[in-house]
């Protein structure tokens, strides 16, 4: 499926975000798998609550990054949709 600014992403029911004190890094955990997240990835996933649209997520992140990040958010989440870790 193709994501747009109107898509409303949420984490797969089986996945959860956590912080790993050993790596000092945010992680996405799910059955039989781990994604080690960078700060930007974690900031995007924190906003994937099944209520906000991608446009709203991008707006929230723009306050932090001071530029239009809609395309980056779509790119990032598309990879996770491909891996079935994010639903939209």
């Amino acid at each position: 499926m193709t994501l747009t600014a109107a898509s409303i992403p949420s984490l797969w029911r089986l996945a959860r975000l956590d912080f790993d004190p050993v790596r000092q890094q945010r992680v996405l955990l799910y059955p039989e798998g781990v994604v080690l997240l960078n700060d930007t990835g974690a900031a995007i996933l924190d906003l994937c609550d099944g209520r906000r649209s991608i446009a709203e997520i991008a707006t929230a992140l723009e306050e932090r990054y001071h530029c239009d990040v809609t395309a980056d958010v779509i790119d990032y989440l598309s990879q996770l949709v491909q891996r079935e870790l994010v639903r939209a």
Partner: protein
């Protein structure tokens, strides 16, 4: 210094009521009286988290044979581990399931042998289907993440479509369809388990269509039969890179099949800290990187993709654990694989695994 491991498979017991002829336990199983204690296991889990492990498999044998699974699951949760109970479903009673849920267990994987009950019972060497179906219903009711695992071989590969429908009907979130890997017990039973190439091709087509059709509802993982492939499987993305296994008696391995490599000695968590075993032991160092590789692997463009394939398979079939996995069509020993494919027998006769369920006197 090696990377942090991500995954620990804790084989807390080899005891199991099932007798599957492709069991991934070693041929020489650990008896009950040599198993680690609850306190040992809790220490191992704590040490694994300090080392970087995030994923825990509580496995066996049948882990529920031990009465301390709930305690171990609670300890794992307190450490922040994501835990999978790898079970046959036998012993997954409503009361134990509720305690496991309360303990914070997140994911339950139940093995099924087939969608056809008669064949399933023949493969398991016992009648377990009804207990598995009951266990599946409990897993769903309590809201666990739910996977079904089915090992595929000659006797069930033609029913892969029915198996997928069965898993969907049981409400699985994930279905792992794993073609048999021929180490240990499965190698002993290779002639009986080996499918034909037309079977393999038909099943792959059914699975591929289902992966698309079920996307978003049930995730399907199809593990290819490596004997029928051009290149070998990457050994857990590299020996001693992400994965470790602790056996019931505390011996610690880079993969669950590694005890079959008789030229290696495996250190024990009873004698050594897990960190030392991971970072410094000879067995974990043996096949890290690519310095150990021979031709054709040493100069192969794929050496960072498949790492020369499976070390256990190389040792089992060629007697040299540093050889190219003979599954690889570039291996000088590939003829061994082609001969094994031709050597299948019909109807299959299995050599089953057996182990005492209760501790016996020393």
């Amino acid at each position: 210094m090696p990377e942090h491991p991500t995954t620990l498979l804790a084989e807390i017991t080899h005891r199991c009521p099932l007798h599957c002829p492709y069991c991934s336990n070693p041929l020489e199983m650990v008896s009950a009286r040599h198993e680690l204690t609850t306190e040992d296991w809790k220490r191992v889990l704590s040490e694994s988290r300090e080392l970087g492990v995030l994923q825990l498999g509580l496995s066996g044998g049948e882990p529920l044979v031990r009465p301390d699974v709930e305690e171990l699951a609670a300890h794992a949760r307190s450490l922040g581990l994501y835990t999978t109970l790898v079970t046959s479903g036998v012993g997954f009673t409503p009361s134990r399931a509720a305690k496991l849920r309360e303990a914070g267990l997140e994911h339950v994987q139940i093995s099924f042998q087939d969608s056809d009950e008669r064949t399933a019972d023949r493969i398991a060497g016992m009648s377990a289907t009804r207990q598995k179906l009951a266990a599946a219903a409990i897993v769903r009711d309590l809201g666990f993440a739910f996977s079904i695992n089915v090992v595929l071989h000659r006797a069930n590969l033609d029913r892969v479509g029915e198996i997928i429908e069965m898993a969907a009907g049981l409400g699985a979130d994930r279905l792992e369809l794993a073609n048999t890997q021929y180490y240990g017990w499965a190698l002993e039973n290779r002639r009986a388990l080996m499918p034909t190439r037309p079977q393999v091709e038909a099943a792959a087509e059914v699975a591929e269509k289902a992966i698309g059709a079920y996307a978003g509802r049930m995730q399907i993982l199809y593990v290819l039969p490596d004997y029928f492939e051009t290149y070998p499987k990457p050994c857990y993305a590299g020996w001693g890179r992400h994965y470790l296994v602790v056996m019931p008696d505390g011996r610690t391995l880079p993969c669950h099949g590694a005890t079959h490599i008789t030229t290696l000695q495996f250190d024990n968590v009873r004698d050594r800290p897990l960190r030392w075993i991971w970072e410094e032991s000879a067995a974990f160092e043996a096949f890290r990187g690519d310095g150990w590789m021979q031709e054709p692997c040493r100069t192969c463009a794929r050496r960072e993709i498949d790492f020369g394939g499976c070390r256990c398979q190389a040792f089992a079939l060629t007697g040299d654990a540093a050889a190219t996995d003979p599954v690889c069509t570039l291996s000088p020993a590939r003829a061994l694989i082609d001969a094994a494919i031709r050597d299948a027998t019909d109807p299959p006769e299995y050599r089953y695994r057996y182990i005492a369920l209760e501790p016996t006197r020393p």
